[in-house]
Every structure is written in C-alpha cells, then in structure tokens.
Symmetry: C2
Subunit: 307 residues, 2 copies
C-alpha cells in the first residue's frame, strides 16, 4: 500500500505551519552567522545574500526537530540549524558553477555565478562553508550546551559534509555522468550527496540534546531513509516538472547523462522505489521517542512534494 | 639599519633544521586528517594529495612554535597545525582556478585543475577546507587540551579564514585588479589575504597553550607583521624571480594588474617597506616570553627568502 493513497487530502496542515515558522526563525537568525564583509570585498556579501534567499530551510528544521525529539527546545540549537543552511547553500553555489552542473537557475533566481562574477560565486561558496563552522562554534556559547557536545557535532559535520560525505557524493555524481546506469553507484551517490546531510542534521540536534548512542542509531536510520527519499523525489521532479515550478532547471539530469533512478528504473520504477523508501522512513519514524507525528508528516510531505 | 646587512652569513642554521623537522612531522601527521575517499570519488583523493605536496609548512610551524612559546609542546597541537596546512592548500587550489588567478604552476607542479578535471580541483578545495575543521575538532581528543579552548580556536579560525579574513582578502584582491594603485586597499588585501592566517595560526597555538589575553595581543601584533612581511616578499619575488625558482608563475601580478607594493612603490620602495616590516616584527618578537631567537630567525628567513 502506498503511504499516501490517491485522493487523500494532506493530513499535516500544522506541519506546513511549523515548517514556515521554522523557516522564519532561521531567516531571522542567519544574519548573525554571516561574516561582516568589508566594502573592498562587497561582491562577496551580495553573492552570499543572493544565494541564501528562497530555501525551504528543511535541514535546519531537521536539526531543530531532532533536538525537540530528545527534549531540548529547537530554539536552543538555532546556531547549529543555521550552520546546515549555510553549508547547504555553499554546496548549491559550487554545484551550479560551470565546471560542475553549469546551472542557470536556483531557488527561483539566477544562479550565483550568473548574478555575480564567477570568482565571487566561488569565494561566496567558500565563505558560506566556513561560516557554517563559525555558526557551529557559536553553538558553544548557548547556555546549557556542553563544549564537548558541540565539538562532537563539529567533528561529525566535517565527516558528513567532506570527501567522505556530501563532497565525495558530488564528485561521484560528476564522475558517473554519461556512464551506464549502475545501481550500486547510484545508491552511493544519493547516500553521500544528499542523505549524509540529513543524517548529520538529525544527529547534530540529537547530540546537542544529549541523546544516547542507541537513540543516535535510530535517528541515523530514519534520517538516511528521509534523505534518500528526498533525492529520489528530486530525480523524479527533474524528470517530470518544470523549471518554473522547481525554481531550478528541469530535465537537466537527462541532458547531463546523470545517474538517476528514473534512468535506472523508469519513472514508474523510481516512483515505486520512492514509495518503498517512504514506507521504511515511516516505520523508522514510529520508533522515535517523540514528535513521531511531525517526522511522519515530513516523510509524506517529501514524498508528495511538487518543488 | 636593515636587519640583515649585506654580506652577513645566515645566522640560523638551527632554524632551518627545525623548519625541516617540523615539515616532516606535519607531513607524517597530515594523512590522519585526510578523509578516506571512496573509490567512486577517486579523482578527489588524487587531487587533494597532489596539491598537499611540496609546501614549506610555514603556518603549521607558527602554530607549533606559538604553543611552545607559552609552554605547550608543539607536538601536542599537531592536529591544529595540520588544519592550517589543509586550509592553506585549499585556498591555493581555489586561487589557481581559471575564474580567479588561472595559474598553471603551484609548489613546482601543475596546478590542481590542470592535473585533474576542474570539478575535481574545485571539490578537492572544498574537501580540504572541510578537513581543516575536522582536524581542529580532532584537537579536542588530545589529552590536556580543554574542549572550550578548542572551540575558541574553531571560532577564531572561521573568523580569520572566512569573508572577514582570507576569503575576503582574496575577493578584494581580484576586485582590485586593473585599478589604480591604492595604498589603503593594498594594505587591506595583504592584511586579510595573508596576514590573517599567520595571526590565526599564532593565536591558535597560544590559545591551546593557555596564554593570557595580553599574551594573545602580543602574539597577534607579531604575527601580523610577519604575515605582512611574507606577502610583501611574495610580491617582490613575483616581480624579480622566475617560475623555476618559485615553483609558481612569476611576473603574474603585473600581467593581472594586481595591487602590489612593487607597483605602488617601485622595487626599491617595496624592499624598504619589507625592511621596515621586518624591523617591526623583530622588535615585537623580542617582547615575546620565549623562543625569541626562533621568531627573530623566522623574520630574517622570510625577509631574505628566495622562494
């Protein structure tokens, strides 16, 4: 049974409101973790701000809800939540550069390297990446969060976003272009390029809240399923939607000859795989100690998203 | 009086041996802080290793000697020392990319984006930048170093290398190309692009060793002079030396129309400015509580370096 039978009205109006509320909190907090760029380097500031606008703030939401799941108010981990959005935005800017995806549209606006000189886009990505770690360090100044926990988050973040995680997945994504569809490679790319950041986000919130190792294992399994689901639906949307709806290029994966599930399994097969991932994620969500309704709603939202 | 009168033989044979010994320690430790790149992302691993080879490891040396100056063995801060080399190498890779300096030679080898596909160079820079923070976090596992001190180093590192520091200086460097020589802009570029990393390195070692705030102020003033001196001699070498001697392009600043001291003051004026910076650095070194001979020797070495 598909987790969202056709015709069922969305059952998470509160979740949408909560997502929007979180996005507003994050948007208000983000400027605190942005460097004060001196006038001589002004294009950098403009490029960073340009690219930060318009995101769904889904990864910060995961950080904050993971903290709530283990008893710490989401607001207490806002610096860490912002770190994930800063890092995510940095990777989007670099991903869109001519030597990677050469994409012209992102978050409904011109890609950073088209709105600004390419050097400014490259350095804005670097600056946001560094600012992400600055925001993590700021988490150490929040009352009630021990420095040891924050340091563990820094270490795990570096592991999950570096060459063993997101950056490694991106490299494999490019290296795999125009090669025959390969199920193992594709799973690797999705796990690293996308799921690693969801895993890092969920673990970061849980670690800061003082979750036990067994809790972290459960959170990791859930977040990995959610992240894989997110990327499969991303592939499906690229194959079936429009640039106008997505705010980024559509159909680009096929043009680039990327490893994707629609290419490996066809549209119907990819949708079935997405449904399976959602069922698995729902089962794992139901085993979490709190906020199961929010996590389950998030899974359904990602499965049925249109952008 | 110039601090190194003509004809005086170098008076720091031991310093050269110490620098070489430190470089070996750093080279042996660096692999510990490099991510294990999965085979699907192999070009990333090759690109990182390619670019890490051949450096003088000057910034790690500053970290370790700063720790020694305040009573902590240099070996105890090796993870942090490695972090500075990882970050420095990342900035060199990105600096050499076509959209920034488009340089073909670095550390006596082909620039990363010429030895590997450009996407691999871009992502290798990102991966090394992230690995730098991973290495800083590893410092927290060293016995005898409190997590609070490590977190402070992470926060200061992010500040000094991001848009308020190194990255901001690079952006100003590019934005200032082909503009009329501007003394204020040039000083800003040198302070951010180069001196900020020396300042961060000296402060990191001192912070980990438990130096007082007044000590940190002294260390900062010295390291800033040393870093400014390093960049002026870099400008002079670019104007007067060869690619063979430097292991990177020579004469490139003039071609790019960069803001440099030789362009602002002429070769003689730039050399006089370097001498002044060296004198100031020597005076500041003599006020440090220990290792003054090493710091003074380092100043003379940077002033008279040929590569």
């Amino acid at each position: 049974m598909s987790p969202v039978p056709d015709g069922t009205p969305p059952a998470w109006p509160d979740l949408r409101a909560l997502l929007e509320d979180t996005a507003r909190q994050v948007d208000l907090a983000l400027p605190r973790y942005l460097p004060e760029v001196p006038p001589a380097a002004a294009p950098l500031d403009a490029a960073m701000c340009h690219s930060l606008q318009g995101g769904k703030r889904l990864r910060p939401f995961v950080v904050m809800q993971a903290a709530e799941t283990y008893g710490l108010p989401g607001a207490a981990v806002l610096p860490t939540a912002c770190a994930f959005e800063l890092l995510h935005t940095a990777t989007l800017i670099h991903d869109d550069l001519p030597c990677i995806d050469n994409a012209d549209l992102r978050r409904g606006r011109p890609a950073c390297h088209l709105a600004f000189p390419e050097y400014a886009a490259l350095l804005a990505g670097d600056a946001l990446l560094i600012a992400a770690f600055g925001a993590l360090a700021e988490q150490g100044r929040q009352a009630g969060v021990a420095a040891e926990r924050v340091l563990r988050v820094v270490a795990e973040f570096a592991h999950h976003v570096g060459a063993e995680g997101v950056i490694g997945g991106e490299a494999a994504d490019i290296a795999g272009e125009k090669k025959a569809p390969d199920a193992d490679l594709l799973f690797f790319i999705h796990r690293k390029k996308t799921a690693a950041l969801f895993v890092a986000a969920a673990r970061a919130g849980a670690i800061l809240a003082g979750a036990e190792e067994s809790d972290l294992d459960r959170m990791t399994a859930f977040a990995e399923s959610l992240g894989l689901l997110f990327q499969v639906t991303d592939d499906l949307l690229d194959a079936t939607s429009s640039a106008e709806a997505l705010g980024k290029p559509a159909g680009a994966d096929a043009v680039a000859g990327k490893q994707t599930y629609p290419r490996l399994l066809g549209l119907r097969g990819a949708q079935q795989y997405a449904d399976q991932l959602a069922e698995r994620a729902l089962a794992l969500a139901s085993a979490l100690p709190a906020r199961t309704d929010i996590w389950e709603g998030l899974v359904r939202l990602v499965l049925t998203r249109e952008a």
